[in-house]
């Protein structure tokens, strides 16, 4: 009982520590820092929440050891799906990555052209590019699925900008962020959204783009 109560306290603390200004502004509320053992309502379908993000144009490093700028090089004008992970994680991360494998498959030739998958390491100290590369290979990542690491300060700032920073990386929340590098429209999905839900959001973003273009 004490243990359960402690866990709950920790979970609540994490929810608050996990919240950061952009996400808070968007009012992502309780689901915000889903982490620890806070359980979502059983059976409730995953739904996206509109969030404000700040894309910082800091220099990070990709799985090939190339220096890339987060906003201009990695995201650019493309539609983006972002998750966070670390290579030594055996539980949540492989599941999110399996989800990305599924998305990669469904995106087909669009991947790398108008859509990019981005996985940012929350443990940049350990996750050197060679580690990312090995992880990418294990998941059969194709060009267009970019894995990022870099100096801890830069990575942390980028993560804060997109509302995915957690002080203790092992407590990072399973979540996926979808948006348009050009027009925004960022949506966060907690836990494990259905690939079709994420792809549906991409279609909406693409339609919005076309509407703007006309």
């Amino acid at each position: 009982m004490i243990r359960a109560a402690t866990m709950l306290t920790i979970a609540v603390m994490l929810i608050f520590s996990g919240l950061n200004p952009p996400a808070a502004v968007a009012g992502s509320g309780h689901g915000g820092g889903h982490s620890g053992h806070a359980m979502p309502t059983p059976g409730a379908a995953t739904q996206g929440k509109a969030v404000e993000v700040e894309l910082l144009d800091l220099a990070l490093v990709d799985q090939d050891g190339r220096k890339v700028r987060f906003k201009s090089d990695v995201i650019g004008d493309r539609l983006v799906i972002i998750d966070t992970f670390y290579t030594t994680c055996d539980t949540i991360c492989p599941i999110l990555s399996a989800l990305f494998v599924n998305l990669q498959h469904k995106l087909g030739s669009r991947l790398g052209r108008d859509v990019v998958l981005v996985s940012i390491s929350v443990d940049p100290g350990i996750d050197i590019p060679a580690r990312l590369k090995k992880y990418a290979k294990r998941h059969g990542a194709r060009p267009g699925w970019i894995f990022l690491t870099g100096g801890k300060r830069s990575v942390d700032r980028v993560l804060r900008g997109i509302g995915a920073y957690v002080r203790d990386y092992t407590q990072h929340a399973p979540a996926i962020l979808v948006g348009d590098g050009k027009h925004g429209g960022w949506t966060r999905y907690y836990e494990f959204p259905k690939p079709d839900l994420v792809l549906g959001r991409l279609e909406e973003l693409r339609a919005a783009r076309l509407a703007k273009a006309q």
Partner: protein, 581 residues
């Protein structure tokens, strides 16, 4: 000597802790439960009973006998049955041995993923005890724990009675605990055939006693590889003797957490290919936990790849080339820097200590893969210091126009020479002397020939060698401990460097075991090694490992050749190259 005493005291206390049969033995619960159940049944039927009645025998003595039988019974269970082996595949790989489909449904949206994307092992671990990660604490799914009669409490007040085999199946397939609660959202539900779930359950019953290869309740089998032919046979023999003696010492003090160390030496002929074949046999057929202090020079990288492939820890191999750092070989832990790391240290030394500012560098070798690797290392490390002119040349030692080469190099303004081949240096430098071309010359100490002392005196303070270890690394305590071991076991010094290397490999292995504790697995052992920081071996540079570091002493000593007095002189401090990447 103080250190030795401390070490043995340390071991003793750990022995006592590990020796307690209750400490790590999952079967105790089962025994206690059995006792509780009997009491309950008897209590109900008879009420209070006379202490000295025949029931005393049944109630007190029999369970005691039963319990002591449990404790005495070796935990080592018979080999896995075919069904359990099939279950093992499901547990670890998430694939169906019968060729059926296993699917995992994840999250509230029940996203379908292949079973291999969410294996039991990935969250609950190879021992089933669950590893906390990403903010989750996966449940302990060892059989004894699941079947605890008093049930379970989970965070957020989820409580349920003990599992039965049937309710366990239901929870895996439907995601409900025995009380009907939904399991934590991160636990997938699985779709698999009836045969597969039965196989999985069969294996789960065996999970807690299904140790990694080479591990038994009372022993750890350790392999090593040694050349048995040619000039190196004596070297291999000397190494095995030292390791065997050291393990015998450990065993005489009670082993490691009550496990005795058994060394299995696999001899091979002298070629790299036969070493590789020997290693494959050792890893496949000999049921070993790790390979320690093996001589793998000649098949260095292939051997590291083999260890990775077979998931066998390779501790302190005697080798010249460490695995490609970019390949992140997880299983091989080196003691010393290989030649690539040594030439990097030479570059650092040249740039920082000799203050060579963007020199023109010529790398001379035999044009083989080794030269290519070393040249890459020199080029990359040179870039750190702003070197931009590194060129490679392929030669056949003693069979090229040394005078012509010396003149050409002089003309090109080469002032820094890396010489990476056996022999031929004297011929080249005599020609250089004649041409009045006097570059700085760098080479790994492993590549020198006796002629090194006969080089022209004009190269005084111009020749620099790298050595991964020197006698100056040895501490008095380390030396006396090693000497005591040799004396006690009446061992002769056959080839001191290699014997020290084998001894230190064994020492690191044993230290890793101690730090891992009684619940040993390869995975936990590797994690313990990754936490080594400046471990004092007493005979070598201090050893540090990390998640991305597999070379204990990452760097090199520098030695210069005193050509006037014909001797080697250590030069400057240890060059640490761990700060790169």
């Amino acid at each position: 000597m103080t250190k030795t005493k401390e070490m043995s005291r340390h071991t003793d206390s750990e022995q006592r802790g590990g020796g307690d049969p209750c400490a790590g033995c999952g079967d105790c619960d089962r025994g206690r439960d059995a006792l509780d159940t009997r009491r309950g049944v008897l209590g109900n039927s008879r009420g209070a009973f006379n202490l000295w009645s025949p029931w005393t025998f049944i109630i007190v003595l029999l369970p005691t006998v039963f319990l002591s039988w449990l404790f005495l019974r070796p935990l080592l269970a018979p080999p896995l049955t075919p069904q359990e082996l099939r279950g093992r595949q499901i547990y670890f790989a998430g694939t169906s041995p019968s060729g059926g489909r296993i699917k995992a449904y994840i999250g509230n949206d029940r996203i379908a993923l292949p079973g291999s994307a969410a294996t039991c092992d990935s969250c609950h671990g190879s021992d089933g005890r669950g590893r906390p990660e990403a903010g989750r604490i996966p449940s302990d799914i060892t059989w004894d724990h699941l079947m605890k009669p008093y049930g379970h409490s989970h965070p957020l007040d989820r409580k349920h009675p003990a599992f039965t085999e049937a309710s366990l199946k239901r929870s895996i397939l439907n995601g409900h605990d025995p009380a009907g609660n939904t399991l934590d959202v991160t636990m997938p539900t699985y779709a698999m055939s009836l045969e597969d779930i039965n196989d999985l359950i069969a294996y789960m019953k065996r999970l807690q006693t299904d140790f990694d290869p080479g591990l038994e309740e009372k022993s750890i089998r350790i392999g090593t590889l040694l050349p048995a032919g040619g000039r190196t046979a004596a070297i291999g023999q000397g190494m095995v003797e030292v390791m065997a003696a050291y393990f015998e010492e450990i065993n005489s003090r009670g082993g490691i957490y009550s496990r005795k160390l058994k060394l299995i030496a696999a001899p091979y002929e002298t070629t790299g290919q036969s070493a590789l074949a020997g290693a494959t046999r050792l890893m496949d057929n000999e049921d070993i936990f790790a390979v320690v202090g093996a001589v793998i020079a000649g098949a260095d990288r292939q051997m590291a790849e083999l260890a990775e492939d077979k998931k066998v820890p390779l501790i302190g191999p005697f080798s010249f080339f460490s695995a490609d750092p970019d390949a992140l070989n997880e299983f091989t832990f080196y003691l010393y820097s290989g030649l690539s790391e040594q030439v990097r240290a030479l570059v650092d030394f040249a740039a920082r200590d000799l203050k060579l500012d963007n020199p023109r560098v010529a790398v001379l070798g035999q044009g083989d893969d080794h030269q290519k690797d070393l040249q890459t290392a020199i080029t990359e490390q040179g870039k750190v210091h702003g070197w931009s002119a590194v060129a490679g040349f392929s030669i056949v030692p003693n069979r090229f126009d040394a005078d012509g080469a010396a003149r050409a190099f002089k003309e090109q303004g080469v002032d820094c020479l890396f010489y990476l081949s056996f022999g031929g240096l004297k011929t080249l430098l005599e020609a250089a002397d004649r041409a009045d071309w006097r570059p700085h010359v760098f080479l790994p100490g492993a590549l020198i020939e006796k002629e090194i002392l006969e080089l022209p005196v004009g190269f005084q303070k111009r020749i620099y060698l790298s050595y991964p270890t020197l006698p100056s690394d040895q501490t008095p305590a380390g030396v006396s401990e090693f000497q005591a071991l040799l004396e006690k076991h009446e061992l002769s010094v056959k080839h001191l460097t290699s014997q020290i290397s084998a001894y230190v490999a064994a020492k690191i292995f044993v230290e890793g075991l101690k730090r891992t504790g009684s619940e040993l697995s390869r995975e936990k052992f590797i994690h313990s090694l990754e936490k080594f920081y400046q471990f004092q071996t007493g005979l070598t540079p201090r050893v540090t490992y990390g998640p991305n570091r597999r070379i204990g002493a990452l760097g090199s000593h520098i030695v210069t050749v005193d050509l006037e007095n014909k001797k080697f002189t250590p030069f400057g401090d240890w060059i640490d190259i761990s700060d790169r990447g």
